[in-house]
Amino acid sequence: MEMFRSVKFNVGLICVLAFACGVGSFIPQAAESPERVEVFLRAQPFWGGVLEGAGLFNVFRNWWFFSLLALLGFDIALCKCLRLPGLEPQESAEEVAQSIGGRPLRASFMGGVRPAAAAEAIRSLLRASGYSVRQAPGADSDRVALCASRHRLQRWGSFISHSSMVVILAGGLVKLVFGFQGSLAIPEGGQAPVPRRPGWELAMDRFQVEHYQGSGSPKLFASDLRLLDRGRVLAQKLIRVNKPMVIGRLGFYQETWGATGAWRSATLSSPQGDVVLRPGRAQALPGGRGRVSVGELIPDIAIAEDGHAHQASSEPRNPALRVRWEAPGQKPRALWLLRDEPDAAFAEDARGVLSRVPPPFRLAAVDMVLFSGIQFVYDPGYPLIVAGALAWLAGMMLLFYLHGRRLWVLVSPGTGQACRVLMGGWNSQGPVAYRDEFEALTERMREVSS
C-alpha cells in the first residue's frame, strides 16, 4: 500500500504512461491505419510479430494500457481522495514551535508586553487583515501559538483536481463497459436499423453537400435524419459536423459521406443534341448515331497500372460512366466517359484494359446517389466526464490561481515584561509573491505588541 502512495512510484507510473503514449504515436495503430500495420507486418515479419505480441499495434485499446490507467486512478484515489483537507489534525503548540524555523518565510522580534496581551493584539490584527486565526491547542500558561490562514479554499484545489481525474477516468470506464458505437452508411432515402436498439430505424431522407469555390474542399455536409421506433418518429434533425442529433445518451454524428455507385440520371451531350439516360434503359442518340446504355458508375475513377479501371475512393471526386455504344453498322463498344475531363474518353477492350480515344460525346452531368456515414455513439459516461472536466477547472483555479497563505505565530515570554515573537509563513505561490506582505505584517505586529 505504501508503495502506491509514494510520489516516486506514481511519478514513475506517469512517465511509463507518457512513454507508452509516445510509442503508440510512432508505431502505426491498427485502429487508425490498419493498412500501414499490414504493410509493416509483411515487411518485417519478425519485429512485426514481436510488436504485435506486445500489443504495440494497439497501444491505446490494450489490456496493459487500461491497467496502467486504472492503477493511476486507483493511486490518485488512494493518495488524495481519501484525505479531505478539512480533516487534517490541528497542529499543537509544540508542533508549531518545532516547525516554525523551517518555514519558507521567517521573522522574529521582541515585544514590550506580556505574551498573552501580545497574542491577543496579534490575533485581532490578523483578523482585521483577513486571516482566520485559531489558537493551537496544548499551549502552556504563557506560551501561545497561533495558526492563521487566508484563502484556505486553496487547500481544496489539490483534492478537487485529483478527484476530478478519477471521475474522468471513471467516465471513460463507464463508456467502455456500458457504451457502444459504430457507423452506418445510409444512402439517400434509405433506412438502417440501429444496433442494440431493437425496433429502432434511422432514416436518412436527404443528403446535402456544398463546396468552396475554387479549392473544391467541402464547405458543408448535412444529413436530414429521422429516428423511428417501429414507425413512430422519435427524433428528427438536420445534422452536420458539430451539430449532432442526440436522444438520451445516444448520439448520431455526421461522419463521412460518399457515392454509393448508384445513380439516378446522366446527361450526354454531343453536337447533335443532349440525351438524358436512366439506369437500366437503352436510349437512342440524336442524329442517328446509334444507341447507348449505361453499365456502371465509378464515383472516383483511377486507372491502375495494369490498365484496368478501379475506384480510388467512395467520394464523388472524379465520376466516370461506362456506356455501351452501338453505333450503326459497328460492333457495340464499351466506353468510359469522365465528367470532369470532357476531352478524354477511354475505350475498354475485351480484357478490360483502357485506352484513350477521342470522345464521341461528353458526359455533361450525372446525378449520383450519395450515402451519408453516420456515427452512432452511446456514451453513458458523458455526464461523469463533463462533471469531471468542470471539477478539474475549479480545482486548477483553486490550486494555482488562488493565493493561499498560512502564518504561524509563537509568542513566548522574554525577559521581564517582554515577550519574544517568532513567525513563520507559507504561501501557495512561492515566497517571492508573499514576501512584501509578510514583512508588512511583521512590522505591524511589532507595532501592536510593543
Binding site: V11, S25, Q29, V59, P218, P244, D379, Y401, Q429
Partner: protein, 286 residues
C-alpha cells in the same frame, strides 16, 4: 497586401527587439532593455493591426464569419507569435528582468520568421474557407487557449535556460559578469515554477475543451490521434514537474531539465506531430 506589409513591420520590430535583448546580455545600460520592451510593444500593435486586416479578409467568406483565422500555417504561426510576444510583455512588465529577452524572444522571432517565410514563399497570407469540422465556437477557444499556454511555457523555458546558465556560472567557481547580470538562482527557479503553474491549468483546460469539442463533433472525447496523444504527454510531463517540485522538493537543475522535457513536447506537439500524422493539423478537418 497591406496585411503582409504590416506583419513584416511587426516582424522587423520583433527582430530588433530580440537583437536588443541579446545586446543587453552583454552590455549594462538599462536603455537596451527598455528599448527592447518599447519595440516589442509597437511590434505587437502592428501585428494586431495586421491581424485585424486579416480578420476582415477572412470573414469575407460567410462560413468563416466570427471564427479566428488559424486554419492555415500562416494564421496559426502568426497567432503563436502574438501569444509569445504578448505573454513576454506581461511577464517582463511584471518582473522587470530585462535579461530574459535574450532567452525568450528567439522563440517569438522564430515564429515570426516562420510566419513571414510562409507569407512570402507559400502563396501569401493564404485564406481558406473553414472545413465543416472547424465551424464551431470552440474554434475560437480551444486552439487559442492552448497557444497561450504554449507561449507561457516558452517563457518558462527561457527562464529555465537562464537558470542553467546561472547554475553553471556559480559552479564554475569563476563567475563571469553574466553571473551578476542574471537574477539569482532562487528567483529564476521560482519564476520558472510560477510560469508553469500558470500555464499548466490553461493547457489542461484547453485539452479538456478540445475533448468536449470532439465529443460534439464525433461523439468521443478522445481518439488517440498523434496530436491528442502528444498534448497528453506534454501535460503528463509538466504534471511530473509540478509533483516533483511541490511534493519531492526538486529545485534547480533537475527541475529545470524536467520542465525543458515538457517544452520539447510542446514543440513536438505544435510542429513535429504534423510530420507523423495528417489528423488534427491546422489545415485538416479533423
Amino acid at each position: 497586401m497591406m496585411e503582409l506589409v504590416l506583419f513584416q513591420a511587426a516582424a522587423a520590430l520583433y527582430t530588433a527587439g530580440t537583437v536588443l535583448g541579446f545586446i543587453y546580455l552583454w552590455n549594462r545600460g538599462e536603455r537596451w532593455s527598455r528599448w527592447m520592451y518599447y519595440l516589442l510593444a509597437v511590434g505587437v500593435a502592428f501585428h494586431l493591426a495586421s491581424s485585424g486586416l486579416r480578420l476582415a479578409a477572412f470573414w469575407a467568406i460567410p462560413e468563416n464569419r466570427f471564427f479566428v483565422p488559424i486554419n492555415s500555417f500562416f494564421g496559426a504561426l502568426s497567432a503563436m507569435t502574438l501569444a509569445i510576444t504578448g505573454t513576454f510583455i506581461v511577464v517582463e512588465g511584471r518582473h522587470r528582468l530585462g535579461i530574459l529577452g535574450a532567452f525568450v524572444l528567439p522563440w517569438a522571432w522564430l515564429a515570426a520568421a516562420g510566419t513571414a517565410f510562409r507569407g512570402y514563399s507559400m502563396g501569401g497570407t493564404e485564406i481558406h474557407g473553414l472545413a465543416p469540422a472547424l465551424q464551431s465556437y470552440w474554434m475560437n477557444i480551444h486552439p487559442l487557449v492552448i497557444m497561450v499556454s504554449y507561449a507561457i511555457f516558452g517563457n518558462a523555458f527561457g527562464v529555465g535556460l537562464a537558470l542553467l546558465i546561472q547554475e553553471r556560472q556559480l559552479r564554475s567557481k569563476r563567475p563571469q559578469e553574466l553571473c551578476y547580470r542574471l537574477p539569482s538562482i532562487e528567483e529564476l527557479d521560482n519564476l520558472n515554477y510560477r510560469l508553469i503553474a500558470v500555464a499548466f491549468p490553461i493547457l489542461t483546460v484547453g485539452i479538456i475543451m478540445g475533448g468536449i469539442w470532439a465529443h460534439e463533433a464525433w461523439g468521443r472525447f478522445w481518439g488517440w490521434d498523434a496530436k491528442e496523444t502528444w498534448s497528453l504527454i506534454t501535460a503528463l510531463i509538466y504534471a511530473v514537474f509540478l509533483h516533483m517540485r511541490l511534493v519531492a522538493g526538486w529545485r534547480g537543475r533537475k527541475a529545470v531539465y524536467t520542465s525543458m522535457c515538457g517544452f520539447a513536447c510542446v514543440l513536438f506537439t505544435f510542429i513535429g506531430v504534423n510530420f507523423i500524422s495528417q489528423l488534427h493539423g491546422y489545415l485538416s478537418a479533423r
